[in-house]
Symmetry: C2
Subunit: 261 residues, 2 copies
DNA sequence: TTGGTTGGGTTCATTATTTGAACCACTGGT
DNA sequence: ACCAGTGGTTCAAATAATGAACCCAACCAA
């Protein structure tokens, strides 16, 4: 692990619930020497990626992020292209819908929308990094990802997040086969003990997976009819979003899924 | 310059006009060895800060940025707090208004709004990093910044961007004195040969400058009346934004500016 | 075909940078 | 006065970054 990765990795610990992190807490989180962590933090700060709460001296994300996201959106407007589609899907099925992008061997949320049509909602943290093996988005991506992504996921132990989490390589492989057949992944309390979700892969140019669209709902609302309805919506969304991204469905699967719809 | 800074520095070359940059171009831009640059690029890519155009192999900003800006906005909603104020000011004077934040010895744009009430507009690139000595925002910040910021600006030569650019330390110092007296900085073709602007500092807790709000307009529209009107609007905006940021005007100047308004 | 150019990417000995144990300074609690 | 908890710093030792030279592919013109 290079120095750059070690430093950038620090940024991944920030989330909605954890907007500020102090030096000592960081040291505990990453299990590295205090001096090292401190130097990395100050260097990130000098570059505007972090700033320091002047009173608590804790660190939080800095203004450089704002500028970069401005550039990225201005030149490669993913969010604004995705938003109408995601909102449309979410309203159609009445449940929280979100898009995440593959980033190494992990998923990074890009956009979510909750139509708020029910009394209970799934608490989606748009800032949390999602593991590939324990989320429907992740399974959808993994099923179509390069072999080396699967390998790097299996290299580390499959962390158990909830009762349903897949924890063995064999189990994972059979689930992925199923996903490849149907084109959508479903998940029953594998990440959160009260949430079910289904996901479908999104493809870029040349049919490479770039991420996933997925719909999550409280387990109590996950009936068979609803499930089928969601699968329909996802198949549709997968095609629309992939088109918008300028991507192609992998030809070896495309017709099969078409007919299934 | 540490490895982390060298890598993060690469990200600063992306702008609206330059959304994708290839390896060789990067090497030219930063004047470092190809192998080094390549390693930095791949490490940034592995962390999702860059992604590679699969066909041209050029690099562009990656999805990690999206997630981080999501967290930053969710936990520290600067943009959404700023937006109504900035839009209000912009509509009031009918000219492009923007807020930038101090980041090291340079300004990073955070938000801008153009009311589009005239036939000609200032082309504001929200992705371009602004120098402190050649912009009204920069002068406003510099006038109230710590001594070491001024020192680090003077350490490097004062790059000439247009006819009006301040290029000597003495000239700069006298301008900064003037800014401290009036509370606003004005600029006549110092950054772009057709643009005039005025700026006012923004303060955080303890009266430390955190950035500036500024209004830019084509030089042809820069009459004396307009100028006075803009100064009024900026004084007002400075106070409102500083309050919203939970900051304090530096007491040694506050009353002077109050009376001037 | 050949040779030249420009692009991306890689190798490995040399070198310089990162690292971490121990240290200091401050704050709040007892 | 002491301890435990912060954040932050130092300097010799070890590790990781560096860069000259290299390879490969695509493109172009003779």
């Amino acid at each position: 692990m290079g120095t750059i990765t070690k430093a950038l990795d620090l940024l991944n610990f920030f989330a909605k619930q954890k907007p500020e992190i102090g030096l000592t807490e960081f040291v505990r989180l990453v299990n590295r020497d205090k001096a090292t962590v401190h130097r990395h933090l100050t260097e990130l700060m000098e570059n505007g990626f972090l700033e320091q709460n002047p009173v608590t001296r804790a660190y939080r994300l800095g203004p450089a992020i704002l500028r970069l996201s401005g550039v990225r959106e201005a030149t490669h407007p993913l969010r604004s292209v995705l938003r109408p589609i995601v909102e449309d899907i979410a309203r159609q099925v009445g449940e929280l819908t979100h898009v995440s992008l593959l980033q190494g061997d992990v998923l990074s949320p890009a956009l979510h929308f909750d139509p708020m049509t029910h009394g209970t909602q799934v608490a989606f943290d748009e800032s949390e990094i999602l593991p590939l093996h324990a989320t429907s988005s992740g399974l959808a991506v993994l099923a179509f990802a390069d072999e080396d992504v699967t390998r790097s996921v299996l290299k580390r132990p499959l962390t158990k997040y909830a009762d349903g989490t897949i924890t063995t390589a064999d189990e994972l492989r059979s689930v992925l086969d199923e996903v490849r057949r149907t084109g959508t992944a479903s998940q029953d309390r594998t990440f959160d003990s009260e949430v079910c979700s289904q996901g479908a892969p999104l493809f870029g140019v040349g049919g490479k997976v770039v991420g996933a669209v997925s719909i999550a709902l409280p387990a109590v609302r996950d009936t068979d009819e609803k499930r089928a309805e969601i699968r329909e919506a996802l198949r549709d969304g997968m095609v629309r979003i992939t088109q918008q991204l300028g991507g192609d469905l992998p030809p070896e699967h495309a017709e099969k899924w078409q007919s299934a719809v």
